[in-house]
Amino acid sequence: MSETAGDTRPEAIRIEGLHKSFGQLEVLKGVSLMAREGDIVAVIGGSGSGKSTMLRCINFLETPSAGQILIGGEAVATRPDGSPANRRQIERIRQSLGMVFQQFNLWSHKTILENLIEVPVHVLRVPKDQAVARAERLLARVGLAEKAGVYPAFLSGGQQQRAAIARALCMEPRAMLFDEPTSALDPELVGEVLAVIRDLAAEGRTMMLVTHEMKFAREVASHVVYLHNGQIEEQGPPEAVFGNPQSDRLKQFLRSVG
């Protein structure tokens, strides 16, 4: 997100003039945002500010009403109604963006290992032994090596979310999208998931993170975006946004979340 002149890192995700309406309700009112490779963009904002919708528009889980999405400089081709025009292109772009959901969304009829290798083996055509080796490495990394053969329903929420992160990583994505990854977790399970995300941040992975964890956002983000009422109200480096907020709304928001 660094707009500093001379930043030559390639751009990873660019959102231009994004609008999204659900019927009469306009949730996003022209959002533009860019993340370069290695950026960690934290998106904060109140309930209903449009932050999750914005994230879901990036991989077209929601169809933008207007605006453009560019991944790695490549614009996603759209029809006049905003839906992806080219099935192969959108599938390829989705494969390059690892998405982590609030509700984990692991496939309940597959074991953790099967969850991890499903798309690599059946969509990306990675040889099965390679996919399994990669999956086992990632499971060890998120501390779930001994849970490979277990079905998701038998894991805690924190373990499921760590497995979901490993599943996204198994695709070797260009960037990770986190949609409130700790909001559905019991408080004592939040830390283990944040530790995994922090670990990914430390290796310089490009991430866009919608979160309510202000302390965490301040700690890991390279850039913080405050969304209010479908528009970017304020943005900047975390020290500025959290340490020296300019707008009254952001000041009020930061007070309210403590």
């Binding site: 889980l61 599938e91 969304n105 496939w107 309940s108 059946h122």
Partner: protein, 243 residues
């Protein structure tokens, strides 16, 4: 006298003539094959119908609504008579018009087609409901990973809906096995027809219809066992719920 009755009963049910056992078993085999064919055809129609009703355009949805409404409203016996006689007649009229010879539609193929169309209408509703019970987030996760729609249906949605669909599909299978008896009206040699012939020829009505009832019962009990196993498999990964 009693001993004589018992031994003559056994004789009547013997596998080889003068016993009629081979005929009954041939009838049972035909019934099972037709039920399998009809159930399979019904399941295929059901998956297509359910996806059509859920995600199809307005025209397709209307056509499917007409199909499920009409087929479920008209008695199977009437449908069998319509499809067997009327369709045979129509096909032959067309063939004659084209200067071809008349054909005789095999009772076997017609049986599978008719019962399959009936099964398809019920299966459409069973599977539509089961697809709606699949957690949307799990489907969304697959979409977000760039899984193509066909693969997503085959590897995620359909396996996930199976545990909800199987009890309804098990009902449909049992109905299919018994509906094969309706094909007796078009003279097809399934279990009921074979039983009627054996009973008529020997006047041992009680013996043969009891034997047929026993065979239907054995079929339904073994199917119940198979479906229970299938359901356990389809529910893998789901913790058991005890109310």
């Amino acid at each position: 006298m009693l001993a004589l009755t018992a031994s003559s009963t056994l004789e009547l049910l013997q596998y080889s003539p003068p016993g009629w056992g081979a005929n009954l078993l041939r009838g049972l085999m035909n019934s099972v094959l037709i039920a399998l064919g009809a159930f399979g055809l019904g399941a295929v129609i059901g998956v297509g119908g359910a996806y059509g009703k859920l995600y199809g355009g307005p025209v397709l949805r209307d056509l499917l609504a007409i199909y499920t409404t009409v087929v479920r409203a008209v008695p199977e016996l009437v449908l069998i008579l319509i499809l067997y006689y009327a369709v045979t007649d129509a096909v032959n009229q067309i063939l004659l018009g084209l200067g071809q010879d008349r054909i005789q539609i095999s009772g076997f193929a017609a049986g599978i087609a008719v019962l399959g169309i009936v099964q398809g209408a019920y299966a459409t509703e069973v599977i539509r409901g089961a697809i709606l019970s699949v957690p949307g987030g799990q489907v969304e996760a697959a979409r977000a990973m760039g899984m193509p729609a066909g693969l997503l249906a085959r590897r995620i949605t359909l396996p996930l809906m199976l545990s909800a669909a199987l009890p309804g599909l098990a009902n449909l299978w049992l109905i299919a096995t018994k509906d094969t008896a309706l094909l007796a009206v078009v003279g097809f040699g399934e279990l009921t027809q074979e039983t009627r012939q054996a009973a008529g020829a020997t006047k041992a009505y009680f013996t043969f219809f009891m034997a047929a009832g026993g065979l239907y019962l054995a079929l339904s009990i073994s199917s119940g066992w198979l479906f229970a196993r299938a359901e356990r498999w389809a529910r893998r990964g789901q913790p058991e719920l005890r109310g």
